[in-house]
């Protein structure tokens, strides 16, 4: 097999494996499988940058190294949204046919992309991740898979989707439709205009070790490469390539009939070749710089606005998943990829609406409507790619308080009807609520010990009273609860049956 054909197939197969793996994780993951996916689903650059202090460093270095050596291979091999667009693009070729589905060289939207990237960069530098919720490809992919894909899977399987949310579904569906349509007609336009990660890696890939090169002696300027380039980055007429937009898909190489375009070691050639790429033309560069500065200014403005509004205390109406720490920390780190929503075996994590104020829109919020937080479970922490839900030793998680119990005794079944209940006591893993005898009644009533409560919501979930007699009050700062004092075992030796 020809080398380039091999490379192209290698890309396709790797990309499909990565895409299928990620899609499987988001759509079908079961609680036990999550551990298997832990490393795999975290090979994502933006979450890794955000979580650089909590295990993301290795991924960041790996992606940087890959980009310096091979160019933007990340976008073709590892980015699920990029791969999705390639799939759409390939399907478009199939549907529209070779004659109609033609790409052509287009100028880079430098103004827009550098503005977006610098705005995002400034925001991240000042821990304001809201723009990334809407820009980062992994976050977008996750949102689409969870809020559109999972309900569909549930519908087909004939079961209920516990974390269903109309708003999140509509938003994700619109984003999915938009990106799909863009890639159907214009290939990788999103990646080369909006995606901040793509723009960032584009800066590096301009000087990467291996690059696509046009052999000027062989090139007849036939445009076949330009037509096949979904990034629209090959200016065949002038035989120059905009490397900042090239995602190394190698489609151009295989269509060239004269072997005039190749993927080559390029560090030595640079001095022999003309400076290439539209972005490097002086006038353009200055303008791009200016616009980048404007973007940075916009980012800074947003950061300031966010700071100002954060200084007012946000009243949270839902608990945060364990490991979030504080609401501020969650907002600083979370890009709402919804991996935690996908992984939660109890289906208690849902996209926030107004739960955390406007800055917290779509961030993971806990709802005890369909379940409660598993005592021995920390799947959400295990799958979080950005460390927003900090993975901690299980013993620490078991005491991590995400909310605190509030009992309204007059609503309680035992108080109202005088019949036994005890559902809250039954479900409480730490016995922060316990059925306690009340003298003269012969009945047992719930009694709470908030100091040891971890806010798992077992009591709220199961309480059969309407309105609920026992609920969990969300906390915007998670702390370790007191350790429960264990009752000592009464040593009893029994020889007979007692009957």
């Amino acid at each position: 097999m020809h080398l380039y054909s091999f490379l192209r197939w290698f890309r396709r197969i790797t990309a499909l494996v990565v895409f299928a793996g990620l899609l499987y994780f988001f759509l079908f993951t079961s609680s036990r499988l999550a551990v298997l996916w832990q490393g795999f689903i975290k090979l994502q650059i933006v979450p890794a940058i955000l979580g650089i202090a909590s295990g993301g460093l290795l991924t960041v270095l790996l992606v940087l190294l890959l980009t310096i050596i091979f160019g933007r291979v990340y976008c073709s091999f590892l980015c699920p949204l990029g791969i999705w667009q390639d799939i759409v693009n390939r399907t478009a070729l199939f549907i529209r046919g070779r004659k109609k589905h033609r790409h052509c060289f287009s100028k880079a939207h430098n103004a827009l992309r550098y503005m977006i990237m610098s705005a995002a960069a400034i925001s991240v530098a000042f821990s304001f991740t809201l723009p990334l919720v809407w820009l980062d490809p992994y976050a977008l992919f996750g949102k689409m898979a969870v809020n559109v894909g999972k309900p569909l899977v549930a519908l087909i399987g004939g079961s209920q989707y516990a974390a269903w949310n109309w708003a999140a579904f509509l938003i994700a569906a619109v984003v999915l439709l938009t990106i799909t349509l863009i890639s159907f007609f214009r290939g990788r336009l999103y990646c080369n205009t909006i995606c901040p990660a793509g723009t960032l890696m584009g800066l590096i890939s301009k000087i990467s070790m291996f690059r696509i090169q046009i052999d000027k002696a062989a090139c007849t300027h036939c445009q076949l490469c330009s037509i096949s380039c979904k990034s629209g980055c090959i200016d065949c007429s002038n035989a120059v390539i905009d490397y900042s937009r090239c995602v190394v898909c190698m489609n151009c190489i295989s269509v060239c009939r004269r072997d005039g375009i190749r993927y080559r070691f390029s560090w030595k050639r640079d001095n022999r070749q003309q400076k290439t790429g539209t972005t490097l033309q002086p006038g353009n560069g200055r303008r791009a710089f200016l616009l980048a500065a404007i973007g940075a200014g916009a980012g800074a403005g947003a950061v300031l606005l966010n700071r100002a509004s954060k200084s007012k205390r946000i009243r949270i109406s839902s608990s945060m998943p364990p490991g979030a720490g504080t609401l501020k920390r969650l907002m600083d780190k979370c890009i709402a990829c919804h991996a935690c929503i996908a992984a939660c075996p109890s289906h208690i994590i849902k996209p926030a609406m107004g739960d955390f104020g406007w800055q917290g829109f779509l961030l993971p919020a806990v709802s005890y409507e369909n379940g409660f937080c598993g005592f021995d479970c920390q799947k959400c922490q295990e799958v979080c790619p950005s460390g927003a839900l900090q993975l901690m030793p299980l013993e620490e998680k078991k005491r991590m308080r995400i909310g605190v119990v509030k009992l309204t005794l007059e609503n309680c079944i035992v108080e109202k009807f005088g019949t036994d209940c005890g559902a809250c006591d039954e479900h409480c893993p730490v016995k922060a609520v316990q059925m306690t005898p009340r003298e003269g009644t012969g009945k047992v009533f719930p009694k709470t010990n908030p100091a040891i409560c971890i806010g798992c919501g077992g009591c709220e979930f199961i309480c059969p009273a309407t309105p609920k007699a026992i609920v969990v009050i969300p906390l915007s700062e998670q702390r370790q609860a007191d350790a429960p004092v264990l009752d000592v075992k009464i040593k009893v030796k029994v020889d007979g049956f007692g009957f």
């Binding site: 036990r32 479970c377 019949t419 559902a423 059969p464």
Partner: protein, 315 residues
């Protein structure tokens, strides 16, 4: 028809009881391992075994009860219903012992059961319960099937004409469709119902647990037990028991290990016996666990176990 059945059972029971009392005087505390399989008239009303591993306890108990073939006929669809309510490993005594469950499943299949299904409508997240209790693995190895019970679609509305409060619960389809079922709870204290034994184990066959809790829990438990298809046998797993912080438990401090097993076809009798056994570890009366008395009012069995033919075996 029901009354006639009841009378017949009562008469047969009395005969068996009288015969049993005679027998028990001769055979009580007989722990010779090679005892013959008893003839029908010799079958005790209740067998209690103590001092062995779960497999041994089961083998001896079922032998004294006349062997599984008395209860499970070839071709029958069988359900074994343990308590798998909590995401806890076996040593915490929150769920029925997996070795016991597997032994029953295997025995039923050996007796010619066409299928043996096992399920519980769990309280904790179901997958964690099925897996960490060890029951899923044990049942699969024994050749049984674990079936889902975590969604409402697996339950069908069923009338309980004799019930006082819970007249139309949704009951699990496997149980509705089976030919015989075996109830295998673990012995624990319970914050709400005070005790959780055989009848409390019925909560796992019903979809809406909240209904029971909010409509007089004790009465609803007794109501659930009026479900017309009675378990052919009720095994109470008391290998490990939970004496405090039940039914979920908090630590190993809550667990005692008396290594016992009780079995009877009379659900009220075996719950009464188990409560008295439990009383040795921690004060408990059947008046407190009042669903047992309410079930007696439903004519589901007797709390007057001193009149029964009980076979007590110390291994």
């Amino acid at each position: 028809m029901e009354r006639r059945n009841f009378l017949r059972t009562a008469i047969l029971g009395t005969i068996a009881g009288v015969a049993g009392i005679k027998n028990s005087k001769l055979l009580a505390w007989n722990n010779s391992p090679g005892a013959e399989t008893p003839q029908s008239a010799d079958i005790p009303d209740l067998v209690a075994v103590m001092g062995g591993e779960p497999g041994q306890l089961y083998a001896r108990a079922i032998q004294e009860m006349g062997g599984i073939k008395r209860y499970i006929k070839p071709g029958m669809k069988v359900v074994v219903k343990p308590n798998i309510g909590w995401d806890k490993t076996p040593e915490f005594a929150a769920c029925t012992n997996p070795i016991l469950v597997a032994a029953i499943v295997r025995d039923c299949l050996d007796a010619g059961a066409s299928e043996v299904k096992v399920f519980d409508h769990t309280c904790d997240q179901w997958r964690g319960c099925y897996e960490n209790s060890g029951i899923q693995e044990a049942v699969k190895q024994a050749g049984g099937q674990m079936v889902y019970a975590h969604e409402e679609k697996y339950f069908r509305e069923t009338e309980l004409p004799k019930a006082v409060r819970m007249k139309k619960p949704k009951i699990h389809e496997a149980l509705l469709d089976c030919d015989a079922w075996i109830n295998v709870p673990i012995l624990k204290n319970h914050g709400g119902a005070r005790m959780t034994i055989c009848m409390k184990n019925y909560m796992g066959i019903v979809w809406d647990r909240r209904y029971l809790h909010s409509n007089d829990l004790q009465q609803c438990i007794a109501d659930a037990a009026t479900f017309a298809k009675r378990p052919v046998l009720n095994f109470v797993d008391a290998y490990r028991i939970m004496t405090q912080n039940g039914p979920k438990g908090r630590s190993l401090e809550d667990v005692q290990t008396p290594k016992a097993l009780f079995v009877s076809s009379d659900i009220v009798a075996v719950d009464t016996a188990a409560t008295r056994f439990f009383n040795q570890f921690r004060d408990m009366t059947i008046e407190e666990a009042s669903h047992i008395l309410l079930a007696e009012k439903h004519n589901l069995g007797t709390t007057d176990i001193d009149k029964l033919n009980i076979k007590r075996i110390l291994l």
